[in-house]
Symmetry: C2
Subunit: 354 residues, 2 copies
Amino acid sequence: MESAIPRHLQCPRTLQRRVDDGYTPPFPAWTARPSRPGQTIVMALLGVQACGAHAERDACAGLRQIVAGLHAHGAPLHCDVAHQVDECGYVTMIAITYWRDVAAYDAWAGRPDIDAWWRAPARLTDGVGWFREVLAPAEQRYETLFSAPDRLEAGGAALGRLSQEIMEHGYWGSMRDRLPLSQTDPLSASGALTIIDGAPGPGARVRVAGHANLAVIRSGQDWSDTAGEERRLYCDNIAPVLRAGMDFLRDAGTSVGCYANRYMQQRDVAGRPVEKTFGLSYWHSLTELERWAESHATHVAIFGTFMQVVQELNFALRLRLYHEVAVLTSGQQRYEYVNCHARSGILNGLPRES
Amino acid sequence: MESAIPRHLQCPRTLQRRVDDGYTPPFPAWTARPSRPGQTIVMALLGVQACGAHAERDACAGLRQIVAGLHAHGAPLHCDVAHQVDECGYVTMIAITYWRDVAAYDAWAGRPDIDAWWRAPARLTDGVGWFREVLAPAEQRYETLFSAPDRLEAGGAALGRLSQEIMEHGYWGSMRDRLPLSQTDPLSASGALTIIDGAPGPGARVRVAGHANLAVIRSGQDWSDTAGEERRLYCDNIAPVLRAGMDFLRDAGTSVGCYANRYMQQRDVAGRPVEKTFGLSYWHSLTELERWAESHATHVAIFGTFMQVVQELNFALRLRLYHEVAVLTSGQQRYEYVNCHARSGILNGLPRES
């Protein structure tokens, strides 16, 4: 067993971990490690949204454009495609791409054809909305967790390697304890989301600045290998509770510090749904994410149901869970929306006019 | 709103609280305060156990003897009477008495008639078992929590006053954060339960020494004022899950650091059951109590169900919950069992011969 915090980032603590050195987790879990020491991850969400009678078709066509641009020029380390219908009824499709570093992402986004396409006035009149959300956490500000050692997902798939069993999981507060910077920094949020230029809404382009210590979580479920009783427990007991929690965050999240939440189902390369979902949410602070997770009935119910199933199945789960969490400086976030409705993504968290 | 830690016990922290100063609990709660500043609490469990065809009658008769001894000489500050059938099938009745300090308890227990009765060889041949478990936490090692401000219970009833709404509740880890000593001390357990003299089991008398930072919790439920939907939710949804959790601790608690658990129903002065229950459990350490509460399916289910009911009822609960927690030095604990079966109370936590 090893610490989730890689050795080269361990330092004398000024803030304590919630568990002492004698702690043994009640079940195993793993974290992703970079294949190259010190490697970071850039997570770029390249999305399209569409409404109306042909929303699915239009969003799929938009996504194909995005993916074609990726394939043409040096693919990212890892890419997931996911689908959702958002709270305003817009079909949203996103290529969630992971890059080695900001330079790699910028090299792609700055290619003349990609850049010209993105900047073109025609993007405001395509009949769909486009957006990019780019997150580039320093190594000290990023953590991952996997319930099974045999399949890496998301940023973990980009990092490429798996740790030994880790210690910091299975208790509330372990998410914070896995973040290297939490050894010495309370990760308190400050500032607010602000518009850099432009305006939200259809027919317009807007760039938004994030603030210090904004938190992002992608928390995923893969039930493709479940069968029998476990599959029934997942589909009948866990998934509906999970959806209720995700819907709450989507519809009323701002009341608890959640700017935006997308609960999405993944698609394969042919566009067919696969048995993988994830919630991806933006939070004012890690603290508010912790508070929601610990006290809101929907999340506690998810956790309680999961623990019950885990224990009923004597920890022999085929359900795979993972998450990745980033707590970002303001300079590690970029958000741009083109012809999107005014509540798209992080726009939902902008201060409302009273 | 105020801190659960009384002002005169607040000191510069070397260990952090889990929440920062900006934290606002999701619902209100209160803690008990002493009527006289600096007053401590001694909790003395004076019990009897009986088995066989007339176990109820014999246990009740035993309890009447105990209570008569209390009434005759300077009553405790507060006394609850509770009933249980333990894992070995013994009817157990306990007068849970609260005293101003060790001197007050000792003055009672040391009275010639009380002392002579307790020491008499006849206690080994009464046909019932007798026990005393006496806990005398320093003020820094004791905390209470109440979900409603209109009824004090247990040690709180002995202390006599209620705080303003407190800050440190509604998140995992708040129990620790309410203990004044946790500001500077991790409250790590050391040592083991040991026999001071005698031997466990029928026909024998045994005294057991506790170890450093053994933790005790009495966690109570009062549903006497519930009605309608709330009563149905409590009786049908919460109580059965609670019982499952209590049964687990009773039957398999040692696997998670719980030496013993009693889930008891209170009785009124006439011996009739009232709608109040509590779990009273002894733990190797506060840490293990935290770990069980946070990760064991039964407790997470209790918590999740409670949070759901609270939120469904928009926090207008008539169900009353409270608890008191003590983390004790070895000198603050005394355990003595007379003619009791070998798994009674904390005897259940003695190392087993292999």
